[in-house]
Symmetry: C2
Amino acid sequence: MTGRNGGAELTPIEPSPVVILVRPQLAENIGAVARAMGNGGLFHLRLVSPRDGWPQERAWRMASGAHRILDKVQVFATVAEAVADLHRVFATCPRPRHIIKPVLTARGGAAEAVAIGARGLRCGVLFGPERAGLDNDEIAQADSLIRYDLNPGFMSLNLAQAVMIFGYEWWLARQNEPAPRALRTHETAPATKGELNHFMDHLIRECDASGFLKNEQKRPGMVRNLRHFFQRGEVTRQELNTLHGVISELVRGRKQ
Amino acid sequence: MTGRNGGAELTPIEPSPVVILVRPQLAENIGAVARAMGNGGLFHLRLVSPRDGWPQERAWRMASGAHRILDKVQVFATVAEAVADLHRVFATCPRPRHIIKPVLTARGGAAEAVAIGARGLRCGVLFGPERAGLDNDEIAQADSLIRYDLNPGFMSLNLAQAVMIFGYEWWLARQNEPAPRALRTHETAPATKGELNHFMDHLIRECDASGFLKNEQKRPGMVRNLRHFFQRGEVTRQELNTLHGVISELVRGRKQ
């Protein structure tokens, strides 16, 4: 099933979702992911805190020619930084914990990714490390979860296969792409994840200052819950500005 | 994305398509195929003339616990023997040659596999060796081709990924399975590939005897064309009996 060309024709199809590997362990797997991405027409690959650093020659050797994808890899220290310019984030998650977020199939997620792209917005998909999966704080950065619909009696996808299935579904979903179904109003626009996180930082800083989060044991869970809540809708820039104002005002009142 | 269980729950879901690896080279890939199959609920694995023989311990090491699939592997010398008890055969083929056969997507092929199973018939899917793919005579054993709908600018699936995508689509197609749409008439039944090949042997033996295939250079292509033709419809046992009779009668006439 190997193609003849060496990836020379690999060019980004815009808008294509960003694949984000969180704390990947083996460079070989990063290379295999790039190869899988090429098959599905995906191009943008980001790494969050790769265990062995980056670049790693072993990745290029496993990429079967998908070198252009690896050459353009971006590396980030945290998930928050890796998603800062995105408008929508999906997290692949084989066993969703008790989290109030929409859970989509790969097919449903790919259809949403296409719909988001048709509105001129950017999305990304988080994939956890080889064994452990994403942790709760990383999942909290996502708007929706993607859970692959596969044999519950034997779920054992490797990283490249997980990316492969998403890319495959995205490639097919693009071909059924309807006309953009919702035009932006131009009066406001969905916030990026960076803008949302900037707001969350503001909120949490003030919560800390107020003593609301002073129970150190409960703090991480409370912060996550706040994040889940603000993540749920598709918050606009205008709304974020309003929310920033609300916090500033509340603080001012308390400080008087 | 690794599951917790070691494949203990892997049991055949009937009727599930048979995965047939033709001349596979690396035992590691056979193991990776078994793992991919487990994810999609596939169970039956057959090998045609594996390069390094069988069994190979390296396969078990790559199977991530899909041992029950490997334990039950069946090995055959030829594709014809491997498909003899099947009623419908698909061949995965990234670049279909000029062959008059239906070409399906993985999704379409999986839907057909489910429909065939719902009629109580068995099907199989041929996957060629790692680099070379299936040869023309092997493809001639198939009723339909499956061509994966992926980025034409970078088609580079490994064997396990190719099996993975088919298994994934089969798993999803099963969930949309309608009630069996066509009951067998009980007056006759579709022939197995073994019955068809038995007839083809009869036909070709007599063609040889008659001198019809005496041009040695043209013989392989002519035999393939005959096979393509008889493969095209879903030939029944009754029809095959009739065809056997036709040949016998024609021969008798010539010999008199």
